[in-house]
Amino acid sequence: MTLRAPPRAWTHRHLLDVDTLSRDEIDRVLDLADEMREARETRAHRSLLDLETVALAFYEPSTRTRVSFELAAKALGATVVDLAVERSSAGKGESLVDTLRTLRRVGATIVVLRHPSSGAPYLAARETDLSIVNGGDGTHAHPTQALLDALTLREALGSLDGRLLAIVGDVAHSRVARSNIHALTKLGARVRVGGPSAWVVGFEDWPGVEVATTLPAALEGADAVMTLRVQSERGAVAGVGSLADYVRDWRLDEERLASAAPGAPILHPGPTNEGVELTAALANGPRSRIGRQVEHGVTVRMAVLALVAGVA
């Protein structure tokens, strides 16, 4: 079979973050994902990964990331194993490296790793000869989420060059925000992070990033708005007052969005807490691209798996 997206340099065996990808490489993933959307319907690439065994090693709960990786791998013909951490030796205290080496021995070639420790995929890449795809590590990175967000924004806005994206919410605890900053600034966008000051601390020095500590300042002139999940499981609400305070000052609704560019699309990495980060009307309204993000999740992950496997 042939792939239409023109082959450009892709030398990465792993996808650990987007910070080491060039703009060309990011474009390559997005173009390939567009191609995968059609291919998925026609099952054109159903044996592209037939030599690969993709193991899903999720040390944190996940629905959309895990399921979309599984569907992506299966759509390309890979054998897929899901390491159900709570039912495996990992749940009995086996170390991450030992578990991954075991997966390698039984035939896994690619591991999609989600782990609560920032940097765990780097350890995995160094200490095994598996190809590692980061499915989200601690508060560090979530590269496939950033790539599907970039694809969603490219679809909504055309080029990202010179566009201003506002990322609103608990940025400090967000791996999604970090990877998006890398991806979107590489694609030429400006990024503004907004949230209560404890949630945007540490971002003042990031190249290409502006910081806003009120919602109007965060939204002013934004071409697109991404609102993040309030992650109470990461101890997030502490430090910014109560959840009610957050809702009062930061919840997105149509009225507050008036200061953003007209029709600015709304993104959310999910799962949403409707009524907390944004109103249900907004989440389900015409500006919302949240459903599109989920759809892109599968095609972007198809593209990433094909690229790290070296078959695209």
Binding site: S117, S118, G119, Y122, L123, G138, H140, G202, D205
Partner: protein, 448 residues
């Protein structure tokens, strides 16, 4: 006749003539090239060396007083997989050290006179002198002050709850009052547990980018200020170990002006490795950053206190040169591989340092950011003075010295390290400075 090298030396007795060696003696303030004689383990006039003794060309080599490490984890008793007195002392000798001060955070901790004595016994035949630091509180639990007087009588040279600060100011003050009568220093690991809470690397831009919880400089400075106030109040001696922040140095300078009896040390890694090493940087703190992203989150770069900023590293280097910092102490912290083969935030903090301290110092000397004489004094005579020991190169004195080639290079390699552990981010790197000979108390303890 000039023999080929040090490898053929036999022991005992340590008698030899080292021709045309550069002798650096911070105690005497001398730096000269001449012949160095050693007869039966004592420093002698070259003319007094018997003709039968080996003669070695010392051209290009430096001879200096043996190094003294104020902060060593020998992991004995309780953690032989990481290190033992024997293996740690071999690592010390290979690094040019003739004395190490063993920290008491062992299992069980060194918190009683009998435990001090048994550790001293274990060090009797080691490849360097082993001095013992006793715990400040019973069980290192931070509650009841331990039997400091008994441990001092048993040979403890100082006291520390290293791994943590003495948690409460009241307990620290009580310990300092007891120590003022014993003339032994409190060796304080300055870290406010509340302020440091959960931090695994220095707070700042790199921590923010890596999504790792930050450890703020305040965590150190708060305890430094507290201890300096207590030392002023009690008149006791305080030694602040592994300082990593410029603000701590300022506090030390101010306290000294006020007459507080304070000394302090810094580790080789805080002088040379910036926090950007956690992001994969492997350039020294004074060089432009050189990142290899595949090395990011290397658990070998997790230390406590965490690796510092470039700005603080520069301040620490300058403080050795200006005398604010008395000593370079390794905080040699061996860990078996499995404790570092985990994600960064779960890794045991610390790195080995005895075999690389001189080399890291010489890298700074080569770069022009640390004077050689200050480096040697901070490794040898100045730390020795803190534990009440004299070092020097005077004729008639016992030979206690190191001979090294400052220009030669070596590759830090798992297989050649003498320590039982190999946890250092320097693995694979090539460093300046090769130790050729170490003589501790007149006895050859290392030669190459």
């Amino acid at each position: 006749m000039i023999d080929a090298g040090f490898g053929r030396l036999t022991d005992p007795p340590a008698s030899l003539l080292l021709a045309r060696v550069r002798i650096l003696d911070p105690a005497a303030g001398t730096d000269e090239v001449r012949d160095l004689g050693i007869v039966d383990g004592s420093i002698a006039d070259a003319a007094a060396v018997p003709a039968s003794a080996p003669r070695i060309d010392g051209h290009g080599l430096i001879a200096a007083p043996g190094f003294c490490d104020l902060h060593t984890h020998l992991r004995q008793p309780g953690d032989a997989a990481a290190e033992t007195v024997a293996s740690g002392a071999r690592a010390a000798a290979r690094g040019g050290y003739t004395t190490v001060c063993a920290m008491p955070n062992t299992d069980p901790p060194i918190d009683r006179p009998d435990r001090v004595r048994s550790l001293l016994d274990a060090g009797r035949d080691a490849a360097c002198r082993v001095r013992v630091v006793g715990a400040v509180t019973v069980g290192r639990e931070g509650m009841a002050v331990a039997d400091l007087e008994g441990m001092a009588a048993g040979g403890a040279i100082g006291f520390s709850d290293d791994g943590a600060s003495v948690p409460s100011a009241g307990t620290a003050g009580q310990a300092l009052r007891a120590l003022s009568a014993l003339d032994r220093p409190l060796l304080e690991h300055a870290e406010d547990a509340d302020l440091a809470a959960g931090g695994v690397m220095r707070a700042g831009r790199t921590a923010s980018q890596l999504g790792l919880p930050g450890w703020p400089a305040d965590a150190e400075v708060a305890v430094v200020e507290r201890d300096l106030a207590l030392a002023a109040e009690t008149g006791a001696r305080i030694h602040l170990t592994h300082l990593s922040c410029a603000a701590s140095l300022e506090a030390v300078r101010r306290a000294r002006t006020d007459g507080v009896r304070v000394t302090c040390d810094v580790t080789p890694h805080h002088l040379t490795m910036a926090e950007t090493w956690v992001a994969g940087d492997r350039a020294f703190a004074w060089e432009p950053s050189r990142r290899d992203p595949s090395l990011a989150f290397d658990p070998m770069c997790r230390a406590n206190p965490p690796l510092t900023t470039r700005k603080d590293a520069a301040a620490l280097l300058a403080a050795i040169a200006d005398g604010t910092i008395d000593a370079i102490a390794t905080d040699h912290a061996p860990h078996p591989a499995e404790r570092k083969l985990v994600p960064f935030d779960q890794a045991a903090p610390g790195l080995i340092g005895l075999e690389t301290a001189l080399s890291l110092g010489l890298a700074a000397v080569e770069a022009g950011v640390l004077p050689l004489a200050a480096l040697i004094a901070a490794l040898s005579t100045r730390p020795a003075a803190i534990i009440g020991e004299a070092r020097g190169m005077v004729v008639g004195g016992v030979a206690d010295l190191v001979v090294f080639d400052p220009m030669a290079r070596w590759r830090v390699d798992r297989s050649t390290l003498a320590s039982a552990s190999t946890n250092t981010p320097l693995l694979g790197m090539t460093l300046p400075g090769v130790v050729r000979l170490t003589i501790a108390d007149g006895r050859i303890t290392y030669r190459a």
